[in-house]
C-alpha cells in the first residue's frame, strides 16, 4: 500500500523532479566551469535517468507506453481485434452464465438456517411397483422415537381452486406440519406461523399466503391476517404471509400453505379405519449426524412397526435436501459448465494461434526492436500486455453477455430457474469469471509470448531467416494445440449429436398418435362440489356437448388429465382376467394403466384400431360393460390368442365384468422417455367417474388455440362460475414442454458445437498459415526449381491432414469419455453410437481441410523471385 501511494505521489511529481534534476546538474556544471574544474563528458540524460531510475518511473512508464502502443496496434487490425474479443467474450459470457446456474443449484447454500443439516426422508415401498411415500402413522412414530433428528415435518401438495376473489384460479397448495417453518428457520413476514393445533384433523383451516400470491391476488393487503379465503370452497383463516424470497423446500413453489390436519390417534391405531400417507418428510439432523446414521436410526424404529396387509418391502431413503431439490438440475448444469469450458478453451487457444499469425506478420518489426536494443523482457511484456488488454475487454463484454444470457435462461429455461433466487451474480460467480479471465490470458497470451523467448532475433535477422517460426519444435507445439482443438470439437459435437438424436427419438419416434390440431384442457373438479357422481357426469356431458358445438371444433373427448399423452402417468391398476386363477404372485396380475375415454378420443389422436371396435356413444351405464385394450395389454396377457371377447374385472366397478371389444395401437402415456405400458380404456360413462374429477378434455379443431381457448373458458364459466380451467394448450405444446429439459441441453450443446466447429476452422486456418509461412523459403526455392502449384498445395494439405488425423484419434477417445458423462440423459441412443460419431468426424475433417486449403492456395500462388529477393 505504501509502495502504491509513494508511486502515485512520485508519478505526480515526475515532471518537477525531472526539471529539478536538470537544474541541479546545470548548476553543478556551471560551478565546475567557474572554478576551472574538468567537466565530465557524461550524457546528461543518462545521468538524469540513472538518478531518477531509483524512483521507479521506468517500470510504470514502460507499462503505460506498452498499453498505449497495444491500443494503437490493436486498432490497426480491427478484424483481428473484433474476432479475438468477440470469441473470447462469447466464451467467457457463456461459461459465466452456465456457472450462475450451477452456482444456484449446487454451490449456494439453501436459504435456511444451517441448511447442511436438512434432509428429505421417505419410505420406499416395493410391491408391484415402487412407491416413494411414507405412511402417516410410521412418520408419527419416527418423529416420536428417533434419536438423530432435531425435528421432523411432513407436507403434501395439492392443486386447489382459490375462489372468492376477482377471478377463480388454480393454486399450488401445500398441507404442512406446523413444525415445517421453524425447522427451516423461517418466520412469516406478517402474522404468525401455523398453530400447533393445525396438525390435527378439524383444526387445519389456517393458511399462510406466499408473498407472490399475497401481492398479485390480495393487493398486498396488510390487514389480510385473520381474514378468510376460500380453497376448494372451504374457508381458511389467513394466519400469515411468507417472506418475499422464501424458497419452499419442494420442487414446485407453494402459493398457499395450510395445516396438515391428520387424525393422529386414528392413524396410530393402525386399524385400517384411518390410513393416509405423506409424500414429503423434511428433517433436521442433530449436529454431526450423517444421513446414513439417521437412516439406521429410522430403520431400527421401522423394524418394530407393523407392515400393511399387502406386505410391501419397506426401506428408507435419506437424501440431503439439496440433492432432493436440485439433483437433476445439478447433473445438467455440470454438463453445461463442462461444455462451455471446453468451448472457452477452444476459443482462447484459437485466438492464441491467430495472434501468433499476427505476430509473424510483425516479425520484422519485433526483430528490429530487438536489434535496436529492446530487452527481450520488454518485447515479451509488450506482447503480454496486448493480449491481457484483449482479455480484459473480452471479460467485460463477456460479463455483460452473461447477464443477458442469464435473463434468457430465467425466461426460457425449463428448470423454473427463477425459483433458485434469480441466479444471483455473487462473489462466487465473480471469482469464477476472474479465474476464466486468468485462464484465457494464460492460454492465449502466454503461447505467443513464450515462443518469443527462445530464439535470437538479431541473429535470425542477420542470417536472413524468418525469425519467429524458424524452429521446428515451435511448429510441433502449434500442431498439438490444433489437434487438441479438433479433438475437443469432436467430443463436443458428438455429445451434441447424441443429445439431439435422443431428443428427436423422444419427441417424434413411435409416439403412437398424431398431435396435429389436437388441444388439451384440464380442469380439477373438487371433491367438495363434484363428489356426487351425477353432478360430475352432468357437468362433463354438458361440457362435451357445448364444446363440440363451438364452430370449427370437429370432435371432443374426455379423459383423465394425468393420462393425456405424453402423460405423467405412473398410476397403475390390477385387473383380474376371467377364467384365470386368482394371481398369487404380483407378476401374474394384469397390471395396466386405466383411462376413461370415449370413441372420439381415438379418432382425434389418430390412434389406430387393430382389432374389434372402438367405444361408442351408445356404451352407457345401462348397457353391457365393455373395454378396449392396447396392443401391449393384448400381447402381454393374451400371448398368441386374440384378446377380443375375454372379460376383465378392473378396479372401475366392484364385481363388474368388462368385455374386451377392441384392441388399439400403443401410445406413450408414461412420459416420452418411457415405453408404452399396457392400457385399458373404459367408456367414461361406464366408469365410476372418480378419476375423471382430474378431468382432461381433448378437442380436435383446425382453428388456432387462440380462438378455441376463450370459447372453452366461457363455456366452463357458464356451467360453473366458481370453477377455474387449470390449463389449455395444444398437444404439441404439451409434448414440447415435456421434452423441454433434454431439448434445452441438446440445443445448448448444439450451439456450443456449432461455434466450436467455426472456431476449429479459424484455428486450423491460423495454424496452417503459420506453418506455410515458416516454410516460405523452402516453398519459394522449390517453386524456383520448377515445382507445380498442385504439388505445393497437396504437400501443405498433406501436412494439415496429419494434424487432423491426430486430432481425430484423440477426439474419438475423448468423445467416448464425454458420451459416458451424458449417457444418463440419453433415450434410445447408445453412448457409443457410431453413426453420430462418423457424421461428426466427417464434418470436422471436411471443414478443417477447407480451412487449410486457403493458405495452401495462397502459398502456391507466391512469386518465388519476389520472396527470395526480400531476404
Amino acid at each position: 500500500m505504501i509502495f502504491v501511494r509513494r508511486t502515485l505521489r512520485k508519478l505526480l511529481r515526475r515532471r518537477r523532479l525531472h526539471a529539478e534534476m536538470e537544474a541541479e546538474l546545470a548548476h553543478h556544471r556551471e560551478l565546475s566551469r567557474e572554478q576551472g574544474n574538468r567537466i565530465d563528458l557524461g550524457n546528461v540524460t543518462a545521468v538524469k535517468e540513472s538518478a531518477l531510475d531509483l524512483w521507479r518511473f521506468t517500470l510504470i512508464e514502460n507499462a503505460w507506453r506498452d498499453v498505449r502502443y497495444a491500443f494503437r496496434s490493436l486498432g490497426r487490425q480491427p478484424a483481428y481485434t473484433v474476432t479475438a474479443v468477440g470469441s473470447l467474450a462469447l466464451g467467457i459470457g457463456v461459461c459465466t452464465a452456465m456457472f450462475t446456474v450451477l452456482n444456484a443449484v449446487a454451490l449456494r447454500p439453501l436459504p435456511y438456517t444451517n441448511p447442511q443439516q436438512l434432509v428429505w426422508v421417505t419410505q420406499v415401498l416395493k410391491a408391484n411397483n415402487t412407491d416413494e411415500v411414507t405412511f402417516t402413522p410410521d412418520f408419527l412414530d419416527w418423529r416420536a422415537g428417533n434419536r438423530t433428528f432435531q425435528g421432523m415435518a411432513a407436507y403434501n401438495e395439492y392443486t386447489r381452486s382459490l375462489t372468492g376473489i376477482a377471478e377463480p384460479i388454480e393454486v399450488h397448495t401445500v398441507k404442512a406440519s406446523a413444525a415445517l417453518l421453524p425447522l427451516l428457520g423461517i418466520s412469516p413476514l406478517l402474522g404468525r406461523n401455523l398453530p400447533q393445533s393445525a396438525d390435527f384433523a378439524g383444526h387445519e383451516h389456517v393458511a399462510l399466503l406466499s408473498h407472490a400470491i399475497w401481492r398479485s391476488r390480495f393487493g398486498a393487503d396488510r390487514s389480510i391476517v385473520g381474514k378468510a379465503i376460500l380453497l376448494d370452497g372451504e374457508q381458511y383463516i389467513v394466519a400469515g404471509v411468507l417472506p418475499e424470497h422464501f424458497l419452499f423446500p419442494g420442487v414446485e413453489q407453494a402459493d398457499i400453505v395450510t395445516g396438515l390436519g391428520k387424525n393422529e390417534a386414528g392413524e396410530l391405531a393402525r386399524d385400517g379405519k384411518v390410513f393416509t400417507v405423506v409424500r414429503n418428510v423434511i428433517g433436521r439432523l442433530k449436529p454431526g449426524i450423517t444421513n446414513e446414521q439417521a437412516r439406521q436410526d429410522l430403520m431400527a424404529i421401522q423394524a418394530h412397526l407393523p407392515v400393511p396387509p399387502w406386505s410391501p418391502t419397506i426401506t428408507i431413503k435419506v437424501l440431503s435436501l439439496r440433492d432432493h431439490l436440485f439433483g437433476n438440475a445439478k447433473v445438467t448444469s455440470v454438463v453445461l459448465v463442462a461444455g462451455s469450458l471446453l468451448f472457452l478453451l477452444i476459443a482462447s487457444s484459437n485466438v492464441g494461434s491467430l495472434s501468433l499469425v499476427r505476430l509473424m506478420q510483425r516479425d520484422r518489426e519485433l526483430a528490429i526492436r530487438r536489434v535496436l536494443g529492446a530487452a527481450r523482457t520488454r518485447v515479451i511484456s509488450q506482447l503480454l500486455i496486448e493480449s491481457s488488454l484483449l482479455a480484459v475487454f473480452a471479460a467485460g463484454l463477456g460479463l455483460l453477455m452473461a447477464m443477458g444470457i442469464r435473463t434468457l435462461l430465467i425466461a426460457f429455461g425449463p428448470y423454473r430457474l427463477s425459483i433458485y433466487g434469480n441466479l444471483p451474480i455473487d462473489l462466487r460467480v465473480v471469482a469464477f469469471a476472474s479465474a476464466l479471465l486468468l485462464l484465457t490470458i494464460l492460454v492465449f497470451g502466454m503461447l505467443p509470448a513464450l515462443r518469443m523467448s527462445d530464439f535470437h532475433l538479431g541473429e535470425a535477422v542477420a542470417a536472413g531467416q524468418t525469425p519467429i517460426t524458424g524452429k521446428r519444435h515451435n511448429l510441433r507445439l502449434l500442431s498439438i494445440v490444433g489437434a487438441a482443438e479438433i479433438a475437443i470439437v469432436i467430443a463436443l459435437s458428438s455429445s451434441a449429436a447424441l443429445m439431439l438424436k435422443s431428443f428427436w427419438n423422444m419427441r417424434y419416434k413411435e409416439l403412437g398418435f398424431e398431435s396435429q390440431h389436437a388441444i388439451a384442457a384440464t380442469i380439477n373438479l373438487g371433491t367438495s362440489r363434484y363428489g356426487d357422481k351425477n353432478r360430475e357426469f352432468s357437468f362433463i356431458n354438458q361440457l362435451l356437448e357445448r364444446t363440440a358445438a363451438i364452430p370449427g371444433v370437429e370432435a371432443v373427448a374426455p379423459t383423465v388429465a394425468s393420462e393425456i399423452p405424453p402423460g405423467e402417468g405412473d398410476n397403475t391398476n390390477n385387473a383380474r382376467i376371467e377364467g384365470r386363477p386368482l394371481p398369487t404372485n404380483s407378476r401374474h396380475k394384469a397390471i395396466h394403466q386405466a383411462q376413461e375415454v370415449n370413441g372420439a378420443y381415438f379418432k382425434i389422436l389418430r390412434i389406430p384400431l387393430l382389432e374389434g371396435r372402438l367405444p361408442r356413444d351408445s356404451d352407457t351405464a345401462n348397457t353391457l360393460p365393455v373395454v378396449v385394450v392396447n396392443s401391449q395389454f393384448a400381447k402381454r396377457y393374451f400371448q398368441g390368442e386374440s384378446a377380443l371377447g375375454h372379460r376383465l374385472q378392473t378396479g372401475e366397478r366392484e364385481n363388474t365384468w368388462y368385455t374386451i371389444v377392441g384392441v388399439v395401437g400403443d401410445v406413450k402415456t408414461s412420459g416420452l422417455a418411457a415405453y408404452p405400458q399396457p392400457v385399458v380404456y373404459t367408456p367414461y360413462e361406464q366408469s365410476d367417474g372418480g378419476r375423471l374429477r382430474d378431468l382432461g378434455v381433448i378437442i380436435r379443431s383446425a382453428l388456432p388455440i387462440g380462438s378455441v381457448a376463450p370459447e372453452f373458458r366461457r363455456i366452463v364459466r357458464d356451467l360453473d362460475p366458481e370453477q377455474p380451467v387449470a390449463s389449455i394448450e395444444t398437444i404439441d405444446q404439451r409434448l414440447n414442454a415435456s421434452v423441454s429439459r433434454p431439448r434445452f441441453t441438446a440445443d445448448i450443446l448444439f450451439v456450443f458445437s456449432c461455434f466450436g466447429v467455426l472456431l476449429a476452422i479459424i484455428g486450423v486456418y491460423g495454424i496452417v498459415t503459420c506453418r506455410t509461412r515458416a516454410q516460405m523459403r523452402e516453398i519459394a526455392v522449390r517453386q524456383a526449381l520448377g515445382a507445380q502449384p498442385a504439388a505445393i498445395i497437396s504437400n501443405i494439405l498433406g501436412q494439415a491432414s496429419r494434424l487432423v488425423v491426430q486430432g481425430l484419434l484423440a477426439g474419438i477417445a475423448l468423445a467416448f469419455l464425454g458420451n459416458r458423462l451424458i449417457s444418463g440423459l440419453l433415450y434410445e441412443v447408445k453412448p457409443g453410437d457410431p453413426r453420430a460419431l462418423v457424421v461428426v468426424c466427417a464434418g470436422v475433417v471436411l471443414a478443417t481441410l477447407v480451412a487449410s486449403f486457403l493458405p495452401a492456395l495462397r502459398a502456391s500462388r507466391l512469386d518465388p523471385l519476389v520472396f527470395l529477393r526480400q531476404d
Binding site: 546538474l25 548548476h27 567557474e34 557524461g42
Partner: protein
C-alpha cells in the same frame, strides 16, 4: 578519470554522509569537499554523485531543500537526517574494521 582513484563500491554513501555531517551543502559542494579532503585523490563524478544522492534521499538518510548558493543562484542543498547520522556511525565502524583488516593482511 585520470590519476584519481575509483571509489570502492559502497564507500561513496559513507563519504557523502560524512561530508554532510560537517555542514549543509549542495551537490557540487559535496563533490568538492570529498575531493579536497582526500588531498585531491578522490574525484566524485556527477554520474555517480546524483544517483547516490537520490538513493540516500529516498532512503531517508538525507533531506533536501532549494536555497540560494554563495553566488546567488538557486541550488539544492542537502542535509543529513537523524537516520543518516545513525547509519553513518554504523558504516564508519564497519569501514574502520574492514580497512584495518585489509592493512593487517597486507602488512604480513
Amino acid at each position: 578519470m585520470g590519476k584519481s582513484q575509483n571509489l570502492l563500491q559502497g564507500t561513496l554513501d559513507l563519504l557523502i554522509l560524512h561530508a554532510l555531517q560537517r555542514e549543509t551543502m549542495h551537490g557540487y559542494g559535496i563533490a568538492q569537499t570529498i575531493h579536497l579532503l582526500s588531498d585531491e585523490v578522490l574525484t566524485v563524478e556527477e554520474g555517480s554523485l546524483y544517483p547516490a544522492l537520490s538513493r540516500l534521499e529516498l532512503d531517508g538518510c538525507i533531506s533536501s531543500a532549494w536555497g540560494l548558493s554563495e553566488n546567488n543562484r538557486k541550488a539544492k542543498y542537502y542535509k543529513i537526517t537523524g537516520r543518516g547520522r545513525k547509519i553513518l556511525i554504523g558504516q564508519q565502524e564497519s569501514w574502520t574494521r574492514l580497512s584495518a583488516a585489509v592493512q593487517q593482511v597486507l602488512a604480513r
